[in-house]
Amino acid sequence: MKFSAWQIKFREIKNMQENIGKLVQSVPTFTAADVGMTIYTYFEENIHSEGIVVLDIDTPVGLIMRNDFYQKIGKQYGFTLFIRRSITLIMNKDLLIVDSMMDTVDASIMAMNRAQENMYDFIIVTENGKYAGVVSIKLFIYELSKKREKEIELLKEQQETLLHSNEMERQHVLEMKEINYELNLRNESVKNLMDNAGQGFLSFDTDLIISNEYSIECTRIFQTDIKGLNFMNLISGFLLRTDIRVIESVLQSLFKVLDKRKDKIYLSLLPKELNIKERIVKFEYKSIGDSENRRIMLILTDITDKKILELKMQEQRKELKLILKAISNKSDFIAAIEDYKDFFGEKCYEILGSNIGKKEIISEIFRVIHTFKGDFSYLCLFNTSSQMHQIEDTILKFTEDIDSISMASIHEYFEELDYLGMMESDLKIIYDTIGPDYLKSDRTYPIREEMIVELEKKIMEVQDTNVCEELLHMVRKLRHMNVKDILAQYNDSIRILSEKLGKKVADIHFIGDDIYIDKNKYRNVIKTLVHIFRNAIDHGIETSEERVLIGKPDCGNIYCSLKDLQNETFVLSIRDDGKGVSREAIINKAIEKKMIDESKVSMLSKKEITDIIFKDDFSTSKTVTVTSGRGAGLAAVKSEVLKLGGDIYIESEPGQYTEFFIQLPVLD
């Protein structure tokens, strides 16, 4: 099955995490029967050997590191004491044994937590419980630093794209490189490595007490000694009260829920950035250890400088996005602003005055404002959207004091809201760039050629190539025609046809993205779409009488939705709210027409059945009418769509709707 094939694929991807197994080396092994002399000879002959492992068949029982060995035999009587006796006397039995599947970072934490004198001992790796080899801390540090190098590479790339990248930033990269070089020096301890990485590392378990292993950067960030502090106490000063509650509950849930796969989702609810002592600090979290001994590791990075640059760029980008969105989604804009004014000017007072109860009134208003918030952010009216967020906050406060607050004061709050002023800053961007009358008329607005050139110039200033491409693409589309406008030309024939058939059908409702195409390249497909509209009116939408009888509004509707899929394709869907396509009728007709074999009907999928209507000479209408011909029209649509490299399919719910989905490539 498709399903399980994908599961396997995902599992493979999951397994691509870096496991400690990748770093395993093999070193000579000895047994309890060997004596000190054997080891001495071995170390003398192999001066680069760091150490050896003592095995009992395939179970690791001890470790002898070179330095440790020489230290022990170098003591008074040491040589005589150990040289002829079993190596079990001299070996270190306190081993760090990990499974080869363990994550490298988890293993590093465990290695770091060892006593100072054992810090450089091998990590012993087992596979299915059997000895597999060792990981040398030397190699380990080297690997960690390589990772670091990759991160620096990324940082560097990012910096090159930042507009105002300056000396400071470049110096930062140099510093990082220096640190990296230092990291390659083998005598660095893991702790040192963390300190020099310029990042704060700390960890805690269920009691939230920060453990003793943390890097110096933490002290710099918090400007206090964090040793033994409770994590919540440490950060609560930098949080809002509601955030504190959320974080506390997230941490509680995290330590309680045993399903480790959910950790990532829970961790994503924790703050990703905090303002600490006037610096912006990035917080990354990692859950380490197994379900019983869960620890949370935090990686803190001071990103203040980078952030300031990013913010500047972001503002510019937001403005451009808003302008382009306003140009390409004008109708959505006008509708949303109208709804907004309507609500704050009138509707909200209707709700406030209704007798559904205080609590209901507040939650109804909250819901509407919440929807505005989402819609405005979709329309790139970011400032207005964040104003909605603030109103939400106030309403939430009302809910908290629901008993003491009076309806009059809620009323007063809304009356005093400067809702027009809240939109001002966003609208000003549109007015200043496109023109003060832009949003006044609902019809198309002539965009001057110079303005497009101007916009293109502005966009070129955005140095982020991805964003730049995206915005340029939007501007170029301005020269093309909106699919909605092209299809709106069918409204006349829809009116004529429905009148002829004695049906009531409204003008096409357009929803979704504004997609601009070069009309000529789609000419044939557009021409054949008439068959879909005809089908909708002739076979789909019922007469007013029929509709009223089954509880539908008397007037039938046709909806055209458009969605830009961003990957060089778009989808046009044409949906009518008529009686739908009866699969049974299709089958009967197809059998009658000898298009399918009756015995094979049970083997057909839903899709295969509905797809029959795209075949030549098929018509589901009982009588072949002049308007809808013989149904060959749908076959024509399909063939034109396929010619352009697109696809078409149909979905229908008997009694409710028929919807055609037409996927087409963007032809520039």
Partner: protein, 127 residues
């Protein structure tokens, strides 16, 4: 675009704009929309009628909110796979949803990849 996972997905959201956008993203990636609901009550009824593979559930809705609908569905079908759709600043609700059996969450406004990733992750988790 070779072999891809096809899931039957139910969309629950009171915003038309959100529903259309979700529908288009999901269909565009080869998924089937089993139905669209505007509130929690509708969602509960339709869920047990249609048994979709996955539900995307808005949190703030009239009549019955997404959290209550989630609880009602999980109560009768512990294996229901529900992705919460939330707005910024709804962490407390998200947490409540996760603790009550939601598999994941997405914050509005969302990018198509976020939706697709969340759905793929469900298949990834399903062992």
């Amino acid at each position: 675009m070779g072999g891809r996972i096809m899931a039957k997905i139910m969309i629950v959201d009171d915003s038309l704009l959100s529903r259309i956008s979700l529908r288009m993203i999901l269909k565009g990636n080869g998924h089937e929309i089993s139905c669209e609901c505007e509130n929690g009550v509708e969602a509960c009824d339709k869920y047990f009628e249609l048994r979709p593979d996955i539900v995307t559930m808005d949190i703030t809705m009239p009549v019955m909110d997404g959290i209550q609908a989630l609880k009602n569905i999980i109560d009768k079908d512990n294996d229901a796979r529900i992705i919460m759709i939330s707005a910024l600043g709804q962490e407390e609700f998200i947490l409540e949803a996760l603790n009550n059996g939601a598999v994941n969450y997405i914050t509005k406004p969302f990018e198509p990849e976020q939706i697709i990733d969340a759905i793929n992750e469900i298949f990834c988790m399903a062992d």
